[in-house]
């Protein structure tokens, strides 16, 4: 039965993560792994709206940063525990997704995209002026003694393993459900979908909310990871480009695409940052993105599918 298969894989992946966590390796591996897994969450979340529904979100940094800054606000106010931070970060970002969707999704898709881009800029301005969460000067987090695990590096790594698995499971479930089929219909031809009984507005709002939620979830543990949070690196355009490039490279129609894209591109970037400048790194990501969009729009999973069909 499919569900049992998914559960087995889930437990196996998490188990593997814990095993890796038990190894006595260079802690940098855990930090790098955290970043790659964070991108798995980001790319998968982005793809629920971008790949399944066909609505491009340029404002990934806004949602990610909202998750991070919600954490900071809650830490300041209540010293809230990590699980609460993650849940609330997700909820707030999900609400933002719902709000932006409600305002713009009844119009052409391009207005939604432009609104998300402008959203990043405005949110960054707001955060810069909000001293409670550190404002432009930034916020420093002093990590408490680590519970359970050997180090914060290991804890955060395993946390991200769990979050990545959960996000991918949710995306996969959506993709294979009636919601996923409705989203595919509205992506292919929204007018026809509506006339065939698909409640397009409701599905679009659902997709933006879920997408926003998981982007916020990706950002919520961020303060613990970096310990010093300031606006310009949290709202980095990096996140916007990678959130697009990873699903595009891996393939946007299935849950596997963002995972492959995140692992490939994320790992490559982690290796690259120690060898070339971060700007050159970004330039290459941009070029790869454009090349894929023009030449291989269905991504790697799409290419594999085409090859299989030709052989059959």
């Amino acid at each position: 039965m499919k569900i049992r298969g998914a559960l087995v894989v889930t437990v196996a992946v998490i188990g593997l993560g814990v095993l890796v966590g038990g190894l006595r390796v260079n802690p940098y591996i855990y930090f790098a792994g955290y970043v790659v897994l964070q991108y798995v969450v980001i790319a998968t979340a982005w793809n629920v709206l971008g790949g399944y529904a066909g609505y491009v979100n340029f404002g990934t940094p806004a949602f990610f940063a909202l998750g991070a800054y919600t954490s900071i606000a809650l830490l300041e106010a209540f010293r809230a525990p990590l699980p609460v931070l993650i849940l609330c970060g997700g909820l707030v970002a999900g609400l933002l997704g719902l709000g932006i969707g409600y305002l713009t999704l009844r119009l052409k898709g391009v207005f939604f995209s432009i609104a998300t881009f402008a959203l990043s800029v405005v949110l960054q301005t707001l955060i810069i002026n909000w001293d409670y969460v550190g404002g432009a000067k930034g916020y420093t987090l002093i990590r408490p003694p680590v519970p359970f695990f050997r180090s914060w590096a290991v804890l955060l790594f395993i946390l991200m393993v769990v979050l990545a698995v959960v996000t991918v499971l949710v995306a996969r479930t959506i993709e294979r459900s009636w919601i996923g089929r409705g989203l595919a219909a509205l992506r292919d031809n929204e007018e026809a979908a509506e006339c065939m009984g698909v409640p397009t507005l409701r599905l679009k709002l659902f997709a933006t909310t879920i997408s926003g939620f998981f982007l916020g979830v990706a950002g919520a543990p961020f303060p613990y990871y970096v310990t010093y949070v300031e606006p310009s690196s949290t709202f980095d355009l990096n996140y916007a480009v990678n959130a697009l490039a990873m699903p595009m490279i891996g393939g946007t129609t299935t849950w596997l695409g963002p995972v492959i894209g995140a692992v490939l591109l994320g790992t490559a970037q982690q290796i690259a940052t120690v060898t070339i400048s971060s700007e050159l790194n970004l330039l290459i990501v941009g070029v790869v993105l454009v090349l894929f969009v023009v030449l291989a729009p269905e991504g790697l999973t799409g290419l594999v599918r085409k090859l299989r069909r030709r052989r059959a």
């Binding site: 491009v56 305002l103 432009i114 959203l119 480009v241 990501v285 941009g286 454009v290 969009v293 729009p297």
Partner: protein
């Protein structure tokens, strides 16, 4: 501290700024308003134009606006080339929306990062005879570095308006946005017309980039400030309306200027976003929209 002097100065500066914003938005009004191509990378081409003006100015002492004009043919060719790629990869296949957007975003990103690799993240500016001078009209100071770009912006708007309404190719561009079949029957090739229009849009970016660096120093990430502005103007003014673009630009210029004077400069970007959202929520067709 409130004084009419301050407000008057802010309004005048805003109007002048508006003339400049019109120059920047003309290209998008053309490509998005009339051709339905969402060139979100337009501001990046503007910055490219700004840097071209910087390089010519610092190496050869060339006046920035002169550079802007000189580079127009080159930018036109770049624009035509970009449109050909866009058309061949997306429009012809009917997959414009998602992939086209991502394509242009990728271009924006590449241009911005390439510029910061080559020129770093320091602010770059130009020197010209009229920058720094100003005249005083009844208590209100008018800075030349704002006045000259505004005048050039108005001239560009007028030129584009005349082109679209009086020339054959201009009217063909208006026609292609409405009825491609009729256009073919008239013997004009819609793809060629659209290529010309898109090329013109990017050529406009060259000149407006030169105007931009005249007004204030630039840095590669300045393009992001203009994405919100340009689309707010295009939506507010009504897609496809050149006159609407001008009016909306001035409205935005004045609103931003007042906001900056009364509440501080870091909020001026929120103004364009606010206007964009308001326009989308209340009247998506814009003030003069079709």
């Amino acid at each position: 501290m409130f004084s009419w002097d301050l407000v008057a100065n802010a309004v005048v500066a805003g109007i002048l700024l508006g003339g400049f914003y019109a120059a920047v938005s003309l290209g998008v009004s053309l490509t998005f308003g009339l051709l339905d191509v969402v060139n979100i990378a337009h501001p990046a081409f503007v910055i490219l134009g700004a840097y071209a003006a910087y390089v010519m100015n610092s190496s050869f002492g060339l006046d920035p606006i002169l550079t802007g004009v000189l580079f127009t043919p080159l930018f036109y060719l770049i624009g035509a080339g970009v449109y050909r790629i866009y058309y061949g990869s997306f429009e012809r296949r009917g997959e414009e929306s998602l992939r086209g957007l991502v394509f242009f975003f990728g271009l924006l990103f590449i241009i911005e990062v390439a510029l910061s690799l080559k020129y770093g993240v320091d602010y770059r500016m130009v020197e010209a005879a009229y920058i720094g001078k100003s005249i005083d009209l009844g208590g209100v100071g008018i800075a030349f570095r704002l006045l000259v770009p505004c005048l050039v912006g108005l001239a560009m708007t007028l030129a584009l308006y005349l082109f679209l309404s009086r020339t054959f190719y201009g009217r063909a561009v208006m026609g292609v946005s409405q009825d491609q079949v009729a256009l073919r029957l008239m013997g004009a090739n819609p793809v060629r017309i659209k290529t010309i229009a898109f090329g013109l849009g990017i050529a406009a970016a060259s000149l407006s980039g030169a105007l931009l660096i005249t007004i204030s120093p630039v840095v590669p990430s300045t393009d992001r400030d203009y994405i919100g502005r340009v689309f707010a103007i295009t939506v507010l003014g009504g897609l496809g309306s050149i006159g609407g673009t001008l009016v909306a630009s001035i409205i935005l210029g004045v609103a931003e200027s007042l906001m900056a004077t009364l509440f501080g400069p870091s909020w001026s970007l929120a103004v364009s976003f606010g206007i964009l959202l308001l326009a989308l929520a209340v009247r998506p067709a814009g003030l003069f929209g079709r």
